[in-house]
């Protein structure tokens, strides 16, 4: 490390982020019946309870459904939109791209409230539809960014080479451009799923009786009872998130995904 101050700050930063997580994970394995650190003994009891608790199981299924559908929709809209922005001849490209990236900037509570007013109150849609619209909008920046980054890195001569060898524009796109973009699209999808699955603000504002996501269900649970089952559920979510993040990192790399945003 050349710069000791930077290094020290980084260590402090990581500690602030990681220590609370360590406490949660540790308490999840307690044998006792309260959320307390240090845990009373070791057991997998609360993991069993979490799996048996029907609201959690139902909410998990709902959350996964929502996340996968929203991510798929975001890619279906975002990928062609990015191609049009980068390759097409459309006026006001910058404006269009800004529009697609705006969910990153607009506070989620504002988006949530707007969707609540317009879709659920105004159009009387069910909360699942509202959640799907909200989550899809939230995922769009990922789809646009990652596709854009992959496209910027791809050699424009690739498609020309395919054309020269006899491929129609569509064929060249399907045979060459799409495979080159595939790892980026795949990892954008994974990240979208994770982001959607873990989202609280939107899901909180758009909650309903029929369709509840896992984070909201867990929040409700914590308000009533304070036992280690929530810690166990959190630990499971954490583990799944880490696995997905590692896959995304291995396929594309976060630097490429987020590189565009910081610039």
């Amino acid at each position: 490390m050349k710069r000791p101050v930077t290094a020290a700050l980084a260590v402090v930063g990581y500690l602030i982020m990681i220590v609370p997580i360590v406490f949660v994970v540790a308490t999840a394995f307690t044998a006792g019946s309260t959320l307390r650190f240090p845990p009373d003994g070791f057991s997998l009891r609360w993991f069993g309870e979490a799996f048996a608790y029907e609201p959690f199981v139902e909410a998990t299924i709902s959350s996964v459904q929502l996340a996968v559908l929203a991510a798929a929709l975001a890619l279906l809209i975002g990928v062609p939109a990015t191609l049009a922005i980068h390759r097409g001849r459309i006026p006001g490209k910058g404006l269009v791209e800004g529009l697609f990236l705006s969910p990153l900037i607009v506070p989620e509570l504002v988006v949530g409230l707007a969707l609540f007013q317009q879709l659920m109150v105004g159009l009387d849609l069910d909360n699942f539809t509202a959640l799907l619209v909200g989550h899809t909008a939230l995922m769009l920046p990922y789809a646009v960014r990652v596709t854009g980054a992959s496209l910027a890195l791809a050699d424009p001569a690739l498609e020309e080479a395919a054309r020269g060898l006899g491929a129609s524009p569509l064929r060249a796109f399907v045979n060459v451009t799409l495979p080159v973009l595939r790892p980026g699209i795949f990892s954008a999808g994974l990240l979208s799923v994770v982001t959607s699955f873990n989202n609280v603000p939107l899901s909180l504002l758009l909650q309903g009786r029929d369709f509840r996501t896992l984070p909201v269900t867990m929040l409700d649970y914590v308000q009533q009872s304070y036992d280690p089952m929530v810690a166990a559920a959190s630990t499971l979510i954490l583990a799944a998130t880490v696995v997905i993040a590692v896959i995304a990192e291995r396929t594309v790399g976060f630097a490429k995904i987020f590189g565009g945003i910081s610039r």
């Binding site: 001569a157 020309e160 080479a161 020269g164 060898l165 495979p179």
Partner: protein, 325 residues
């Protein structure tokens, strides 16, 4: 004899910039023609119009005598090697080379045979199963060549194919491309900014400047007789002087001779640089028009003249090139 490719009054404008300006060009079949010029002279734009990647603003492009001005690239059956090679990263070497054949619906067995035959031509049959990323720059270049050749194109177009290779490999590949051209008897159009490359490789060289063709011919014709000052400078003529009647003249440094006395031009030695095989002597010469000009003489053998000393410079008539005023 029909030209393999023919450009008639071809102009390409990008906004207010004219990249290619009313170019007329006939590319002889079965030969290697180079488009030579500095960056921005319009050579790559010309090649891209022949390939069909950009349509000319005006003019006609004929390929094998057929008007192809608006034909999309996939219908031209031309082989193109890009400066970046543009190999498909997700396909193996064999799949890259076979891609054009697959599109032409060549049966699998025949396709494999032709892929291997083409890879053998470029000396890469043993790497057929590799991905492009695992190859060196020189190998990638050969794959790009093989991919372009495999479709048996009407023209082979090479856009600065050697510029990304290191110096030694670049010189090797010149001979290699010549050999492949001779074996396949393809008509090749090669774009380059390197005059040595063009001189060594061309049957026909086309020198471009500011969107126009300034000189065209076999290297043996062009090199000793540059058409104007631009071509002369580009080909390494470093000495420019003026005749008594005002005609601009040029002569290569290696053709200037130093003598003890007249006949010749009186000169003062300004500087002497030792370069191993030769000496580069800078001279302040009084030319026939009476003006003092700085000339360079490339001297082999003999003793080095001392800076400041007076010498006589001989400009042999058969090496003195008259340029247009």
């Amino acid at each position: 004899m029909t030209a393999a490719a023919e450009l008639i009054g071809v102009t390409q404008r990008f906004g207010s910039f004219t990249a290619v300006d009313a170019v007329d060009l006939a590319v002889p079949p079965g030969k290697l023609t180079t488009l030579l010029g500095p960056s921005g002279c319009g050579k790559t734009t010309t090649l891209r119009m022949i390939a069909g990647y950009s349509a000319p603003t005006s003019g006609t492009i004929r390929i094998d005598g057929i008007d192809s001005t608006r034909t999309p690239p996939e219908k031209r059956n031309l082989g193109m090697v890009f400066q970046s090679y543009a190999l498909f990263p997700h396909m193996t070497v064999a799949d890259n080379v076979g891609y054009g054949l697959k599109l032409r619906k060549v049966p699998a067995a025949e396709r494999r045979a032709r892929v291997m035959e083409t890879l053998e031509l470029v000396g890469l049959a043993h790497l057929a199963g590799r991905k492009p990323k695992k190859l060196s720059g020189g190998q990638q270049q050969r794959v790009a060549l093989a991919r372009a050749i495999a479709i048996r194109p009407r023209l082979l177009l090479l856009d600065e194919p050697l510029s990304n290779l290191d110096a030694r490999l670049r010189v090797q590949m010149r001979t290699e491309i010549r050999r492949i051209q001779a074996e396949t008897e393809l008509t090749v159009i090669l774009v380059t900014h390197d005059q040595d490359e063009a001189l060594e490789m061309s049957d026909e060289m086309v020198i471009m400047n500011e969107g126009r063709i300034v000189q065209q011919g076999a290297p043996q014709q062009v090199f000793p007789r540059p058409a104007d000052r631009f071509v002369a400078e580009f080909l390494g003529y470093e000495n420019f002087l003026t005749a008594a009647d005002g005609t601009p003249l040029t002569i290569r440094p290696e053709h200037l001779r130093l003598a003890e006395q007249a006949p010749g031009l009186p000169a003062t030695v300004a500087d002497v640089a030792f370069r191993g095989v030769d000496l580069l002597v800078s001279l302040d010469v009084v030319d026939p028009s009476g003006a003092t000009v700085r000339l360079l003489a490339d001297v082999r053998g003999g003793t080095a003249p001392a800076p400041g000393s007076s010498v006589t410079v001989v400009t042999p008539d058969d090496h003195l090139v008259r340029l247009p005023r």
